[in-house]
């Protein structure tokens, strides 16, 4: 697949007003709002364009499988520090568009924190280059980071440059017995100390914590924290990252993004938590409004993460925006996709 083909297709769709459903590996078709429009399969536009281990960046075409990218990084002892989920066949374009980060997010940051540059095809078929390959770049508005989590509604992310980091020298995982409130208390207390905690997960009375860093730091932190060693730790964290763990089971799975100190959400269902308490999961059949309201009162928001399509389309996958912000979203959508051809209604029905 050639770059010119992508541009040609977008131009043609803009002229005819044909909606396009941008698709990489299709691993996140379950996520967000409605899937509408003619499928534009980007999995053929793939390949690593540049990888400079000592400059700490990698540039790849959108259809590049995350697995291919991570294999190239692993050869040089590096990684995508935000540990994006693969959910089978994720591509780098979809990874940035969806903006989902994995367990290491609590220590390293989210997808958006690692986006250095994008080559974008806007909704009129114009090619736009934002950001670049250097760590620091404040020339112009930071449009590259704006793409993270935009679900492809602002443009076709044809190429992405991500910051990469060295893999930690050592990792150890510990397990503690505690209820949810106890886990939240401990994680916040530990979060205020200089401890190398790179992931945390609480579920069903057990708190798992991963330590990453220099071997001496990991050993010292283990001494301080106590707990038992977690067996098969790599497999455990992979199951969290890929959501194959039993904690994520349920017909309707909510993701609540809350202040890390928020008390346990008092709703029936199966709760679990990550990111030092800042990301909560709730498998529940409680009505949508109750979950949204509980998240709002706790100071955050709730995403209908996995749910039947009919429910996501009816209720919206994401928390409704205040009027002023929604108006701003619509204006920004017009800037990059004036004819509204990219992924209509995938993020919000109004976009």
């Amino acid at each position: 697949m050639q770059f010119e083909d992508l541009v040609g297709k977008v131009r043609e769709s803009a002229e005819t007003g044909t909606a396009l459903r941008l698709k990489g590996g299709g691993s996140k078709d379950f996520y967000g709002g409605m899937l509408a429009g003619e499928i534009m399969d980007l999995s053929g536009y793939r390949g690593i364009v540049a990888y400079e281990p000592t400059e700490l960046y990698i540039t790849a075409r959108c259809g590049t499988p995350l697995s291919e990218m991570e294999a190239a990084l692993a050869e040089k002892g590096q990684m995508l520090a935000f540990e994006p989920p693969h959910f089978g066949s994720a591509t780098v374009g979809g990874c940035v568009a969806a903006g989902l980060s994995g367990p290491r997010r609590q220590q390293a940051g989210a997808v958006r924190d690692f986006v250095l540059g994008v080559k974008l095809i806007d909704g009129t078929g114009r090619v736009l280059d934002f950001g670049g390959q250097v760590m620091k770049n404040v020339a112009g508005y930071d449009v590259s980071r704006l793409m993270a989590g935009s679900l492809g509604t602002l443009g076709l992310i044809a190429e992405v440059t991500l910051k990469v980091l060295p893999r930690p020298m050592a990792e150890t995982s510990l397990v503690f017995e505690t209820d949810q409130a106890g886990a939240i208390e401990r994680l916040n207390r530990w979060g205020g100390r200089p401890l190398p905690i790179s992931a945390s997960f609480w579920f069903d009375g057990a708190l798992m914590v991963r330590l990453s860093g220099a071997s001496a730091a990991v050993a010292a932190a283990r001494e301080k924290l106590g707990g038992e060693l977690l067996p098969s730790a790599d497999a455990f964290w992979r199951a969290i990252r890929e959501q194959t763990s039993g904690a994520f089971r349920g017909e309707v799975l909510w993701r609540l993004s809350l202040p890390s100190v928020a008390a346990p959400i008092d709703l029936p269902g199966q709760p679990s938590l990550e990111w030092g308490g800042a990301q909560r999961w709730l498998a529940t059949d409680v009505e949508v409004a109750s979950v949204r309201e509980a998240a709002r009162r706790a100071g955050g928001h709730a995403v209908l993460f996995r749910a039947p399509e009919s429910l996501r389309c009816r209720e919206g996958a994401f928390a409704p925006l205040p009027t002023a912000l929604l108006a701003l979203h619509r204006r920004l959508k017009k800037v990059f996709d004036p004819k509204g051809i990219f992924n209509p209604e995938r993020l919000y029905a109004e976009l």
Binding site: G99, D129, M135, K136, L154, P194, A214, P259, L328, L332
Partner: protein
């Protein structure tokens, strides 16, 4: 769209009369002698006297000022401490300076949640000082941190010497409350780690006061490392020092700080601070490690091994906190130290891929001869951000013009080497022409449209950060892709 810069004609009497209705007398300055201190920011070579300066004390007053300015179509330039180095807060001659200096309260520190809610006029260092009793601090530390404010840091996406490990402002802000030109209050972000919808926080941070006026900021606080130690290495060749930087990163080490100074910079600094720098060296590297004592010991040993292998002629490891601070003192005092040996200096801020450093320094040496001016170089080596300090004398006719041309050539070279014209100081008025080199028409148009999505009439900080296409055509050094002529619809001069 934004082909030309907008021209404003302000009726000063009407403006003062309207502002007097919404502001108490002590919050409004209109007399020339009161306006004079506001005529420039940290980039003193560019000056302009505003029509009025407003010093509001409440968010309602900020809204009222913006409403008045919108009604009268008067430009507004928000200002923090005015320490910026790109002229981002330089007043508009027909406009109002909106100083947030009185928004100087730390509203809340939540040690358990590790965050602070502050007003935009709070100084960067004051946040860390207030958080210190809890063992926490605010990580981004621009060198102006004793004076610069959080509002300004948000506007510029400020960096510092610890960005490589701890990130820029954009990585350390949770929430911003801001007022748009039409008086709308935007709550962007929260105390959670993400928000539904587009990442507007990323867009607002680093927007140079062009999109909205920040009235409150929630920052992340970071646990203070137990220990920090620094290795000082000297090299007899700049290229070797550059390679050593790459070797450290290739070894899987992300130091807390990684800074370089060339010989002219150390020569300027050493008599000023007596940091113990090797004056014979062509370059010195400062590499800091922080964390637990065990971690630091391990990392320092690895860093020393890498530096020795990279051909460092001398290595010193700080043996006490006092010594660590002394090693850093020289780097942190580099600007004032250079200020002592020259009447004026002009600080540039390009970023380049680290591996191109030797090439860049060689080119700068050539430019010193070409422009007949000296240049000292300090470098945030870890993140490729170079600060050449071009020395000149504003009192000598023609020297400033030569310094400006020298700087422009460095910036354009940064772009040519695959970098950016600004790593942390912002575009402001200073680098606006070089934006035409870094970006082509479609991106510049997109930037103008993004601005219009927030500020339809273009009243917030007009003429800064993003050049009009007309300006780029006049500047004549455009970003050309594959030989196509950009701006075909514009006249040539």
């Amino acid at each position: 769209m934004a082909a030309h810069d907008k021209v404003f004609h302000t009726d000063r009497t009407a403006l003062a009369a309207q502002l007097k209705i919404v502001l108490p007398p002590h919050c409004l300055l209109v007399d020339e002698e009161d306006l004079r201190p506001y005529e420039c920011d940290g980039l003193t070579a560019y000056r302009s006297l505003p029509a009025a300066v407003c010093l509001p004390e409440t968010e309602d007053q900020v809204r009222d000022i913006l409403r008045v300015c919108q009604q009268l179509q008067v430009p507004v330039v928000a200002r923090g401490a005015g320490t910026g180095l790109s002229g981002g807060a330089m007043p508009h001659a027909e406009g109002v300076v909106l100083s947030l200096a009185r928004f100087n309260k730390i509203l809340r520190i939540d040690a358990n949640a590790r965050l602070a809610v502050v007003q935009p006029g709070v100084r960067n260092l004051a946040v860390s000082e207030a958080a210190a009793p809890y063992g926490l601090y605010y990580a981004p530390d621009p060198s102006s941190q004793i004076a610069c404010t959080l509002g300004g840091n948000v506007a510029e996406n400020s960096g510092g010497v610890h960005c490589l490990k701890y990130g820029l402002t954009v990585h350390n802000i949770l929430r911003v409350r801001a007022v748009t030109m039409d008086g709308e209050i935007l709550e962007i972000g929260s105390e959670a780690l993400d928000s539904p919808g587009y990442d507007l926080l990323a867009l607002l941070i680093g927007s140079e006061g062009m999109l909205a006026v920040v009235t409150e900021v929630t920052v992340k606080l970071t646990p203070k490392p137990e220990l920090a130690q620094v290795v000082m290495a000297s090299f007899d060749d700049v290229a070797k020092a550059g390679d050593a930087v790459a070797a450290i990163i290739a070894a899987g080490i992300i130091p807390a700080g990684l800074e370089m100074m060339d010989k002219p910079a150390t020569a300027a600094v050493e008599p000023f601070v007596q940091a113990g720098y090797d004056l014979e060296a062509e370059a010195i590297l400062l590499c800091e490690s922080d964390g637990t004592p065990e971690e630091v010991a391990e990392e320092i040993a690895r860093v020393c091994a890498v530096l020795e292998k990279s051909g460092a002629r001398d290595l010193k490891v700080s043996q006490s906190e006092a010594e660590r601070l002394r090693f850093w003192a020289g780097r942190k005092a580099a600007f004032p130290a250079v200020g002592r040996i020259t009447p004026d200096y002009y600080c540039m801020d390009g970023t380049i891929p680290r591996k191109r450093l030797a090439e860049m320094l060689q080119a700068i040496a050539g430019m010193e001869k070409k422009y007949g001016l000296r240049c000292a170089n300090v470098f945030h080596a870890g993140d490729g951000n170079l600060h050449p300090l071009i020395m000149y004398d504003a009192a000598t006719p023609g020297e400033w013009e030569r310094a400006e041309a020298f700087g422009a050539e460095i910036l354009e070279m940064s772009v040519a080497l695959g970098g950016s014209i600004t790593g942390e100081h912002g575009v402001g008025v200073e680098k606006i022409n070089q934006m035409c080199v870094q970006y082509s028409t479609p991106e510049l148009e997109a930037f103008h449209k993004v601005k219009a999505a927030f500020d339809e009439e273009g009243l917030l900080n007009p003429g800064k950060a993003v050049p009009s296409l007309h300006r780029c055509a006049e500047y004549g050094r455009m970003h050309v892709h594959g030989g196509d002529l950009k701006f075909p619809d514009l006249e040539r001069f």
